[in-house]
Amino acid sequence: MGVRIQEAPFDAQAEADALREGDFDVGAVVTFTGTVRDVNDGDAVGTLTLEHYPGMTEKALEAIVDEARERFDVRRILVIHRVGTLAPGDPIVLVAVTGAHRGEAFDACRFVMDYLKTRAPFWKKERTPSGDRWVDARASDDEAARRWGGDSSADGP
């Protein structure tokens, strides 16, 4: 279990292997890797720059992982999120979850991603042929997070 924010690439397999190392009660390992697409909202994307809010972002990710562990019967959860400048095809984020059974592991992994998308302080700026632009938040991400039935007061006034 852990949370890491880094510029460097990650090796999803090595991370997942380390997560279940020596834990023979694990029957299910679910990983989600988010990658940079070369098109967003119809425009070609050259590079993507990810910014975070040091201090708060780590706390937010840890709170999300804690909530996932409270809601789901899983063994370990790892979140790695990259910052800095990335190119299409590059991995951005890894969420890995181990558990005794697959249902809870799938749920926990998806829950962490849905909450990360709406609650973790990261911001993306795209370089496109028509200039740089900050990516807009998606209504579909808010919907995905709401589906877990948590309170939405974190949205503030």
Binding site: H52, Y53, M56, R119, W123, A137, G156
Partner: protein, 93 residues
């Protein structure tokens, strides 16, 4: 900023992230306060500066505020020494 000896405790650190940082032209500032205040009062003072400040921070704009790294609301208390951050909607992952 006042010249009093308790300078360190009479200011709040404001932080502006991502699109807000670019629109406002600054990543942070030391903001003088007379004493305990609220997120709403600080935001109102910034809006009074006009220009990009009022355009970006107007009520109704999708801006979240965090006090000492915790998401806050307009009525959240702010004390001297606190860090108050203004965040656009998040888009990570």
């Amino acid at each position: 900023m006042r010249g009093s000896p308790d300078l360190a405790t009479s200011v709040v650190k404001l932080v502006f992230l991502a699109r807000l940082r670019e629109a406002l032209g600054t990543s942070h500032e030391r903001f003088a306060v007379a004493g305990p205040t609220t997120v709403g009062a600080i935001r109102a003072a910034l809006i009074e500066r006009g220009g990009a400040w009022s355009a970006e921070l107007a009520n109704g704009r999708a801006v979240r505020v965090a006090v000492n790294h915790e998401l806050a609301t307009g009525t959240t208390a702010v004390a001297p020494g606190d860090e108050v951050a203004f965040l656009p909607p998040v888009t990570g992952g």
